[in-house]
């Protein structure tokens, strides 16, 4: 036992003596949360919008008013002809142009339909999609009311856009769970794989192997400090999101922490697996970053919904642990659901942990070669 404690003490000395590691461990998660929370906000507020009103009647004016007063948009310019559209985009402030056809009001009253075009700046696809969605929603709303006023017959079923759980579509509600998921796997896997390969590279592994330390002691000794630190990290991130964004944890805190422990453990074992596959720190870092970070971001459903992906990616994403944890954490934090809804994902993570541990212990060499 003394042996093992001595080993853990040594690991902590490595960590605390290396300011860069400490910074990566605690600084980067905090920075990520703040950056994602503030800067990369996916809400639109005061997006520039221009109007080309070829009809100029009561209805188009009312609709324009509605759109501007929604609070999402700011009117940049009133255009006079189609040729102005291109120019106004080039100025850069305008993200979308709304065009009412001529005789818009007349047509709507007499024929029951009129056409309105939204031209969005496709060079910023995210903003463009959002602007398009928001305007469509406002127009539909208006359309519905107008139709309701006129006659019941013309009421059409309108797609209703309503946000459950995140009624204001606040994007940090989405991002905090995503960042926790990403940060944990990255840091845990990266740190453990680097710390083991470092011993190989500096030749100290040779001496450890020739000592009476057993492989499982070496592995656990490497994992334990990071397990503790990562767990502290989770608590810090949750506290940070609560104080800065007021993000509550709707479900059970105990369950959330327990699930986080499981996920941390899974990531740590994955790190050990990476270290047994790589001979140098460089390789370990490369595998962790390129092999883990990119797929985690792209395929976990963190940014791009899995439902919209081609089937192949869907299958690939099934082996990505973050995919499951993101479901778990969102369920607990935002929806407030219990284990009954997430037992499947939990089970998958447990199996993954067991498999990674099994392979690493088996692959961890008691000799060189």
């Amino acid at each position: 036992m003394n042996r093992f404690l001595g080993f853990i003490k040594k690991e902590f000395l490595h960590i605390f003596r290396d300011y860069r590691t400490l910074f990566i461990l605690f600084g980067i998660p905090a920075a990520q949360i703040l950056i994602f929370g503030y800067a990369v906000s996916m809400d639109i507020k005061n997006a520039g919008i221009a109007f080309l009103d070829l009809s100029h009647d009561e209805i188009t004016m009312e609709l324009t008013d509605k759109i501007i007063s929604s609070g999402f948009f700011k009117k940049t310019e009133t255009l006079l002809s189609y040729s102005d559209v291109d120019k106004v985009f080039k100025k850069g402030k305008t993200k979308a142009v709304i065009i009412f056809e001529s005789n818009f009001g007349k047509k709507l009253v007499s024929e029951g339909k009129a056409s309105l075009s939204i031209i969005a700046d496709g060079s910023e696809p995210n903003t463009a999609t959002l602007v398009t969605n928001y305007t469509t929603a406002i127009v539909n709303n208006f359309n519905l009311r107008f139709a309701g006023d006129a006659s019941l017959n013309s009421v059409r079923i309108q797609p209703e856009v309503k946000m459950f759980y995140n009624p204001n579509l606040k994007s940090h509600f989405m991002f905090v769970p995503g960042v926790i998921t990403l940060i944990l796997i990255l840091i845990c896997a990266l740190m453990t794989s680097v710390t083991i390969t470092r011993e190989k590279e500096f030749g100290t592994m040779e001496v450890l192997l020739v000592s009476p330390l057993r492989p499982i002691q070496i592995i656990l000794g490497k994992v334990m400090p990071y397990f503790i630190l990562s767990f502290i990290n989770v608590i810090l991130i949750l506290a940070l999101s609560w104080f800065v964004f007021g993000l509550p944890v709707k479900g059970s805190m105990v369950l959330l922490l327990a699930e986080s422990m499981l996920y941390i453990l899974m990531s740590l074992t994955l790190g050990i697996l990476i270290s047994t596959l790589s001979g140098t720190m460089q390789q370990a870092i490369f595998i962790s970053l390129i092999g883990l970070m990119l797929p985690s971001i792209l395929l976990s459903g963190f940014i791009f919904p899995i439902e919209n992906m081609p089937k192949v990616y869907d299958y690939v994403s099934m082996i990505m642990p973050p995919r499951y944890f993101i479901v778990i954490i969102k369920n607990i934090m935002i929806k407030g659901t219990g284990l009954a809804y997430i037992w499947k994902e939990t089970l998958i993570l447990i199996i993954m942990t067991a498999v990674f541990t099994g392979i690493s212990v088996r692959k961890f060499k008691i000799r060189l070669e």
Partner: protein, 304 residues
Amino acid sequence: MNNAIESSGLSKSFGSARAIRNISFSVDESEIFGFIGPDGAGKTTLFRIITTLLLPDEGYVKVLGMDSVTDYKKLRKEIGYMPGRFSLYQDLSVEENLSFYATVFGTTVKENYDLISDIYSHIEPFKKRLAGQLSGGMKQKLALSCALIHKPRLLVLDEPTTGVDAISRAEFWTMLGKLRKHNITILVSTPYMDEAMRCDRVALIQKGEILAVDTPRKIMLGFSRKLFSVKATEKYRLITALRQFPATITAYPFGDSVHATFTGDIVDPGLYDHLKNNGVTHVSVNETEAGIEDRFLELMNKTA
């Protein structure tokens, strides 16, 4: 007397490259046994097999009476190993490195302090300094202290003197000599021939094969011819001229002279004229005693 190490027919290949081939030797208890040979001769591979880090393809080695393959767990408690690159944690202090290795082997620095005191006392004034900031000689002493801290019965040192200055090397060998009184068997490797003289017995190793095993003295006496040391002002011309001389068998530069052997083990009087005609001046020829390196060269030429 018991054998501390006994090996028979050890061979090991990495892919198509043969690292060592049919190595058999034995080391007596409490002796300093040196493996002398250039880089790539197979010294490190052999040491890794002895320290249970590698499995041999063929043959066996018994270390302290235990088999290196089957008894590796027991054996690992008895070996102190210092790999080629001083395996210290650069970001831990001198003191922390030492106490870490002590706990790993289930002991304390205090318990075996008397064993390392000779060596550790040189670096103790700097015990708070990080290992990464030590000079080469100090690193070497710390690594040796770490390898000794659990009082091993066998100490395996892989090229402990590479990259260390001459004074530290001399100190290092003196320390190894002092360890003799603790009944520790020491296995050491070096590419430098002159260090052979500090060992009780040595094995000359080249291209994975042992060329000779004996005391340094006897290895030197094994040189089969009379050896002459030839000096002159123009060294390069001297070497080329000596080689052109018909009675010359070998001529190798050796420091400030050229070591040469001649047919019949005599200096043909015509040599002086020959050298003079080739523009070599101030020639002196003296018979000299062959060193380990002379013998190594002779053995290399025989096998080549």
